[in-house]
Symmetry: C2
């Protein structure tokens, strides 16, 4: 019997307990031993909950119990999760987390502590919910030099953009709907401003390099400026608009960014809709691959946490390889990346556009304005070209 504790009995934490419970026989077969949730750490009590007897309020009861070998940290946030995780690892207890905030802030340090204490710090559920991308990067793609990752990493914004595309609703309306459905928080900033996706791509970019990509260094733009009119053009152009998180290694220069992009109909990411997430990976041998699934939600995320628990249970006393050291990666300037840009501009600016940008193919959905897609150029060159252009209504980067 392997004793497990769960830190935080919220959505994901209660999901973890449910997965371990419902799939217990099957997990026992796969581990070779049965898993048992011995404690649940939470500030609250849960009278009437079938696990109420397992709830404790003092973390030290768990940290001091030598029977507990694996901890699921599903509290979220940096404090006090960081201190709890560190203490657990220092005592040789493996920690499996869904906490992207903590992983993005302290990942390499915690991995190092785990290694020093012959246990594991695992974080499959921190990126892409149920999508098994972290373990794939550590194992299945270990023979690859990964040159590019494009992710749709935030379910809330992907739901919102899908609705805006399908129903022509405004940003504000669709945000309200997402909040009513519980997909978006009352304070939706972390999702809609791209902060959530930013932390996730920083984690993936770190694993891609083996070093530390700090999320603070990642250029991040949200979806708040996208309008129904942008979607009308996108439809006309056979494209969709997605919030993409991109880590792109061009000749050893790594750029990492989060922003809305237009993406072509034939790209696999085009069809990733609603709350689904996907990670599109390009390796130097593998070429393109994609991992698709539920990027959030109680049970899919919990399933990823428990998959980590199973790995830890199969490897008691042994640290699994996870190459992510504390050396900070200096990111290249994303303005040096070459791409196309979608531009909407008021009709009066036609002459100025031809003058600044050169011959373009116009697309219009109404009389007052038109749009065009630029040739391939660096973002710096693009900025130079349009800086004197008045009446620019919208600019969206194009991913091909």
């Amino acid at each position: 019997m392997i004793q497990v504790a769960v830190f935080g009995y919220g959505t994901v934490g209660s999901g973890v307990v449910q997965v371990i419970d419902d799939n217990n026989d099957l997990i026992a077969k796969r581990v070779g031993e049965r898993l048992n949730v011995k404690y649940i750490l939470d500030l609250r009590d849960f009278p009437g909950d079938k696990n109420q007897e397992k709830v404790v309020h003092d973390v030290n009861i768990i940290l001091d119990d030598p029977e507990v070998e694996i901890i699921c940290e599903t509290m979220g946030g940096v404090k006090p999760a960081y201190q709890y995780t560190k203490s657990a690892l220092e005592k040789g207890k493996s920690v499996c987390t869904s906490n992207k905030e903590l992983v993005a802030n302290h990942g390499p340090e915690l991995i190092k502590i785990a290694e020093a204490n012959k246990c594991n710090y695992m974080f499959e559920a921190s990126v892409g919910g149920g999508i098994p991308i972290i373990r794939a990067m550590n194992t299945s793609l270990a023979a690859e030099n990964i040159v590019k990752i494009i992710g749709i990493l935030n379910g809330t914004t992907n739901y919102m953009l899908t609705k805006m595309a399908g129903e022509g609703t405004s940003y504000d309306e669709v945000l309200k709907k997402a909040q009513d459905l519980g997909y978006a928080e009352r304070n939706p900033e972390a999702d809609v401003e791209g902060y959530d996706a930013c932390r996730k791509i920083a984690i993936l970019a770190s694993l891609m390099t083996g070093h530390y990509v700090k999320y603070e260094d990642v250029y991040t733009e949200g979806i708040t400026a996208i309008t129904p009119m942008d979607f009308e053009y996108a439809k006309k152009l056979g494209k969709s608009i997605k919030l993409l998180a991109i880590a792109d290694d061009r000749d050893g220069k790594l750029t990492v960014m989060v922003a809305p992009f237009m993406i072509g109909a034939n790209h696999q990411l085009n069809g990733v809709n609603d709350v689904f997430n996907a990670v599109y990976v390009t390796g130097n041998m593998l070429d393109d691959a994609m991992f698709y699934g539920r990027g959030a939600g109680k049970l899919p995320t919990a399933s990823a946490v428990v998959a980590d628990v199973i790995e830890c249970a199969r490897n008691i006393g042994r640290t699994l390889p996870c190459l992510w050291d504390e050396e900070v990666v200096r990111l290249a300037d994303y303005k040096e990346v070459k791409r196309r840009f979608f531009v909407r501009v008021s009709r009066e600016q036609r002459g100025a556009v031809l003058n600044q940008v050169g011959p373009i193919k116009e697309v219009a959905v109404c009389d007052e304005e038109f749009a065009f897609i630029t040739p391939v150029m660096t973002e710096k060159a693009f900025d130079d070209k349009i800086k004197n252009l008045k009446g620019v209504l919208s600019v969206i980067r194009v991913e091909e």
Copy 2:
């Protein structure tokens, strides 16, 4: 330094040597030791090849060399690969293979031998080429009760069906084109009759159950009967036609089959085109996930073999869990599965159709015939309904 040998210097084998060569530094970092290809086993010589000195013709040179710890079996076929693999495993050498034929025929036995000799028999590359589905099933999805797998597992037929859909070409024309491009063999039977996909889904279904699904028990139908007219209807219905390999566990009754299916526009598998493959997995906690990538090809397949080599190198003297025992799974009758059916029938049969099947919604692309999609029913019930119907031009199952 970890010494590796490659059995078979064909497409995948030479790819393996190239991946180990080109990504050697990166792999060394990930393994903790450098990999070196010490021998290449092949009947042929390769004068002028930069690895010609490594080529040997006698397998015993490799089997008797205690330095060799890992073997890449990229020969294909059951004989002599089976004997070579067995001998290698019995000497404690791990074997990583791309040989689906051998895995489908002798997987559980070879896994058992590996376990008894504290080494590994790994076969990521045997299903889905570069798509990391095998390791996902053994690790990332270990907390899941997988209830359904739908795969597009054969690149050749997927290329052919994509071309037929896009260009309206006939089966014979598109087969010729695929042969000219090297996507299809001169004798295309293994691909177009579904035998290749059958072996692959038997492997995935085995891992799904932990027991042995024999490929001989899998109902298999190829794509040879699909016509351009079927695609005209598919287009009109907003569907596509794909060769699907399905393992479906309904209330503990497992059915496994390979056949062409019509699939809706919103299904993720609908957009899997050309030589790409994908595996769509449904788990009881995870819900739906999809793994997409190049299902064949020299370097993607070789990358998967080398990912296995890396896992073996990280686990010398230790067998990684792979639950697949020799107990043969009794498959349920696929005729008991409920689904819809697409039926094309000559116009004169309208009265008989209404009589046999009941009210239907007709779709027509020409005057001589029409098509309809049945309500949901078992295949047995469907067979009963149409057995007396004359003038049936085509029947294709529908996956929703």
